[in-house]
Structures are given as structure tokens and as C-alpha cells.
Amino acid sequence: MTRALFLLMSGLCCLLMFGNFQCEQHYCSLEFELRNWHSVWLNNSGIEPITSSDPIPRSALGIRLSAAFLNPDSLSVSENEACSWQAFHPISQLEIFATNGFDTIANGDNISSRFRLRALNAYSFQYLTLEQALGPVNFFYAPVTPDYEIDLVMIEPPSQSGAYQFSVKITYDSLSMPPSPDTFFTLPTVILQ
């Protein structure tokens, strides 16, 4: 009996000393970098926006910006693991310009206020101004995906149909010393119906 108790106590002591007990779940927080930006036109006529190279209804125009999603820590994260992702080099400004003027807009004018970020949420989606968009663009909870995409929708389209050209400027937070310079690119001409 005494021997059994001794063995039991010894076993418990070993468990306490060498056992890997964890009372709290590990908090997973990772950083990401964005490289190689691309853009395509979106047609948001249906339930979900789809990429399109055909003429697009003016009232359903959108832009999808996509970038390669890099994890500088090279940590392996399982798809089921819920992690928060924070931009290593946060975007400080997201701007859209009218390459060619239209209506009362002059060539090169900033038309960012005419766009909204279509941000996915727990329900379906919501629309955020491009200033509000910086939060979810730089920090989010999501499973690991190879692509990073931002959908912008134009809520005040040109009043006339025709060919239009827009440019996008992505400015990074200068304090965090981005490895690449700010990004500026012009989208291909879009035909609006």
C-alpha cells in the first residue's frame, strides 16, 4: 500500500515537473507584407462582384486590387488556426485619380470620395470610405490565403457612358520604412455603359 502511494506521488511529481501544461490558448498574431499589386475591373451587377474586361454598367463599376500576401516570419500557420494579421508596412493612404476628366472632374483629380471599400464582415459586407478602409486593410482576422484582395466600388459614377481611365496610388506609412516605394499605377481603359 505504502509502495503504491509512493509510486503514485512520484508519478504526479514527474507530471508536474515535466508535463507541458497550458492553461491559456496561445494567441496567434502575425505580420504580413504586400507586394506586386495588380488591378482588374469589377462588375457588381449581380449578387457578388465579378472581374470583367467587357463594358460595365456605370452604376455597378468596381476595382479589385490584389497583391501577393507574404509572411516575413515564414511561420507555418494551419488554415484552421485563427490568427490576427497586421501589416508589417501599413498602408497609410489609398487614393483613386481620374486620369481623364469627366463631368466636373478635371484631369488627374482625386476622386477617392466617390469610392467605397466593400469590406466583408460577419454578416455579408459593408461599405467603408477609403479613410475608414485603412483599418481593415492593415489589420484583420482571416484564415491564411495566398491572395490579398481589396474591392472598391464607385458609388458616384460618371454621368455619361464612354471610355474612362483611373489611377490608383497606394502610400505606405513612411515611419515603418517600406522596402518598396509607394505604388502608383493606371488601370486599363474601361468602357462604361
Binding site: N44, S45, G46, I47, E48, P57, S59, A60, G62, R116, R118, Y123, S124, F125, Q126, Y127, V153, M154, I155
Partner: protein
């Protein structure tokens, strides 16, 4: 309204029965002749039967469960009364709300409907009405017409609609002042009972239900583009249909002599 219906049906049933009782010749305790009780379990298909279930994206039949306890009396003139207390599969009314909002906003389609918490649950069902016995040897067939009610859970529902052809989208929070609502039901059905013993047997029930819903909701509508919010009261009235099949066992205290039931 429901109480009026039940009282009316009960009065209609009792009147011929009381007259018939005078002529009845019963064996065993006279007062008990034709009285029975039964329990049964089965499956029900209601409007959009599989909308109730979403487990890993698959539809399961568990939500159609129905069970009930019946008590009744069949009089010598073959008419009878039946009362039913039971449970039927809880009906998820969120698709009704979604359809009502889509109908109220032509050109819009739902892009989101919140999941229901009533999956795989049961709701109360009470009914009372008339039956008629048609005895054939060991068998007894009983058509029946029942009026009753069933409980519906009025969960707060979230719906998002998007206008086709534009970016315009609205988010709806649909909330009721009450957690539950009792829908009226009309049940037409029949029972095929087989006497295994002198006073007990097994049976199969088939029911066809009509369910009337009349829900009052307060709707908070947020325009996602304009970021404006409106509140309005909405009434959702509709009618649903269901078909159920049940198997059960019954116990009869005494039978009318010579009639076979």
C-alpha cells in the same frame, strides 16, 4: 379567436354525441366505452422541409420529428372527439422573412440571412376536433378534422439585400416584441387502427396541416451606401402546409359491444 374555434367545434361535436348516448348500449363501464388514449411518433414534411436543417451544409431528416399524445372518445353513433397534445418540428420562419423583404423590395436579392437557432428543435402543438369511426373487423378507420395551434419561435433575424445592377445594399434587423407566436392550424387526417388485443392496438396516422402565420415585426433598415437608418413595422402573413405520418399504440378502456370499436 382560437378559443372561440375550439369552443365552437367542441359544441358541434358534443351535441350529436349526447343524443346518441341515450341509445347506446355499452358493456363494461358504460361511461368509458369508446374512450382511448394513444401515443405516437412520426415524421413531418412542412413547407420547405429541409430549410430547418443545416449541419455541415447537409440537410438532415431529424428536424421533421413529430410526436403526440392523443386522448379521445368514439361514441356509439361513430362520431367522436379527439384532443392532441404533442410536438412538431420547429419551423424556421427566417426564409419567410427573407421572401417578404425581397417581395417588398423589387429588384433586390438577399445576400445574407442569419442562421436560425431552431434547427432540430420541437415546438408545441395542440389540437382538438372531430373524428368518425369506420370499423371493419379487426380494423378501425378514423377520419378526423382538428383545429389547433402550434408555437413559432420569433427569433431576431438579420437579412442583407442588394439591388441587382447597382452597389446599393441594405441591412435589415427584423425583431419581434414577442419571442413566440401561436399559429392557428387546421388538420385533416385519418387513422388506421388495428386491434391487436381486445382493448389495445397499433395505428398509423396521416395528417395534412394548414398553418396560418401572422407575425408582427419591427424592422430596422440600414442603407449601407447612405449610412441612414429607418424603422418601420412590418406584418408578415402567410400560410404553410405540412404532411405528417405517425405510428403509435393505443389503449381503449372499453369497446362498444357489437360495433367492433
Amino acid at each position: 379567436m382560437k378559443i372561440t374555434w375550439i369552443a365552437f367545434m367542441a359544441a358541434m361535436a358534443i351535441t350529436p354525441v349526447l343524443i346518441a348516448q341515450k341509445d347506446s348500449v355499452a358493456t363494461h363501464p358504460t361511461w368509458a366505452a369508446g374512450m382511448y388514449g394513444s401515443i405516437s411518433v412520426g415524421y413531418g414534411l412542412f413547407s420547405d422541409p429541409f430549410r430547418n436543417v443545416s449541419v455541415m451544409g447537409a440537410s438532415l431528416p431529424a428536424t421533421g420529428l413529430i410526436y403526440s399524445m392523443d386522448a379521445g372518445i368514439a361514441f356509439r353513433n361513430k362520431f367522436g372527439l379527439r384532443a392532441v397534445i404533442g410536438r412538431i418540428a420547429a419551423r424556421n420562419i427566417r426564409p419567410n422573412i427573407k421572401r417578404a423583404l425581397e417581395a417588398a423590395n423589387p429588384g433586390y436579392v438577399a445576400t445574407f440571412l442569419s442562421a436560425s437557432g431552431v434547427n432540430n428543435k420541437l415546438s408545441k402543438h395542440y389540437a382538438i376536433g372531430l373524428s368518425y369511426a369506420i370499423p371493419r373487423n379487426q380494423w378501425c378507420f378514423q377520419p378526423e378534422l382538428l383545429l389547433g395551434s402550434t408555437t413559432v419561435s420569433l427569433e431576431t433575424t438579420f437579412v442583407q439585400l442588394k439591388e441587382l445592377g447597382t452597389h446599393r445594399a441594405c441591412f435589415y434587423k427584423v425583431k419581434s416584441d414577442f419571442q413566440h407566436y401561436k399559429s392557428h392550424t387546421l388538420t385533416f387526417g385519418g387513422r388506421a387502427a388495428w386491434y391487436v388485443g381486445q382493448y389495445w392496438g397499433v395505428f398509423a396516422d396521416a395528417w395534412f396541416l394548414t398553418i396560418w402565420n401572422n407575425f408582427q415585426y419591427q424592422v430596422e433598415k440600414t442603407d449601407l451606401l447612405e449610412q441612414t437608418m429607418d424603422t418601420e413595422n412590418v406584418q408578415i402573413k402567410n400560410r404553410e402546409f405540412g404532411a405528417t405520418g405517425k405510428l403509435g399504440i393505443f389503449l381503449q378502456i372499453a369497446r362498444w359491444e357489437g360495433n367492433g370499436y
